[in-house]
Symmetry: C2
Subunit: 224 residues, 2 copies
Amino acid sequence: MLHYPSEWLHGASLGDRIASELRLHVIDGTIKAGEVISENRVAAVFGTSRSPVREALKALANEGLIRLERMGAVVLGLSDEDLDELYDVRFLIESFAQQRLAAVDNGKLLEKLRQMIDKMELAVKHEDMIAFSNLDFSFHEAIIIEAKHARIQHLWKSIRQIVLTVMLITTEEVFSQGAAKLSMVIDKHRKIVSGLETKDVNVIRNVVQDYFADSKVTLHSSLS
Amino acid sequence: MLHYPSEWLHGASLGDRIASELRLHVIDGTIKAGEVISENRVAAVFGTSRSPVREALKALANEGLIRLERMGAVVLGLSDEDLDELYDVRFLIESFAQQRLAAVDNGKLLEKLRQMIDKMELAVKHEDMIAFSNLDFSFHEAIIIEAKHARIQHLWKSIRQIVLTVMLITTEEVFSQGAAKLSMVIDKHRKIVSGLETKDVNVIRNVVQDYFADSKVTLHSSLS
DNA sequence: AATAGTGTACTTGTATACAAGTTAGCAAAA
DNA sequence: TTTTGCTAACTTGTATACAAGTACACTATT
């Protein structure tokens, strides 16, 4: 059973840890949609009081993974359709961010992105799946942060944990498909860098569209 | 001093009430950006324990109005730029929703929207500012809900309280500008209905663009 | 006077206690 | 058999208690 990487939990409170573990299991289906969970039971499972559990459930509710009700919280899960929608929103956010980056000096960002791609290749060589998924995630997050739009960054924040967790799961699958698939993934990121280089909003729009259209395909073949 | 309408708080927990009141005062500037607030002090002000305050602060942090730190939460507030960005995001979300509605049968929605517009005129006649702002809000929310995209609705959920509160404040200003301004606002909503009627994505895109471009102008002239 | 050390008051994170409300099941009555 | 009413075990919302960590001012020392 996949566990949430403990190195991603440094300095995290109990509430954060419970949220991360719960999130992972809701997304990977260990906790099934329709199930009803209560603060007390979750607290018992994790051996804590209700306080951190309460925070975790609030967080998961904010992310749309569960729905808080009068009695108990019902698990919503992430269906295939939900994943599609998640990528719709990722596209919306990243597309906005990249369009914005076309209008400013983005040299330093591009350098950073290229370094990340180098590290991706290293992670492939070391067969370090966790590092790879983290790099994939950080690549896109760097773009969004560099766009310097507080509200957009906030939208991102509301889905970032889900995206990170989904990437963790899908990367596991991609790794099992061998080096060819991985170099395709890396190449897609190179295309994004090339797109940003042009600083042409039309080129960028197409690049981002291609990226996410392709990602959706990978996503579906990976999860079914 | 403007208070959060108590009729919007039916069945709300203490946490919700504190969040709403705090949100209003952060947005209207009664609580200034840069200020540091602590759970204890807020609890003392509202005469409650820290528990509901804690929830309220978490909610406000999720909305980006404050930033939680080791010691105390620092108020971020909503600058003019933040408001611009808020409307960027509103445009992004509603534009997506309306594009989606072009492809489906939206007759029932249109009927509902027209009824809302009628009620707006009634609210003007009765000089009921709170009802008007609520109708304006519900009009746009109805569009987003009807798009039936869970992730998009979630993005909306993460800003809806801020939008509602901003509308409450700006509507107060619009009302003070007299009937002519109000009928302009109502007319803008009629244009949206007309746009949706065409079911033409290009027409709709332009209508929504116009709507929010114009709203931004109103917003700025209203708050400075 | 400047600085190092220390204590105090404040902060959050977590645990626990209690109150009020909801649900489900069972028993008793029609 | 059906329905009504009650009980008992759950649920969340809120209050309170405690622990660990942080900032800041004050004091003693150089």
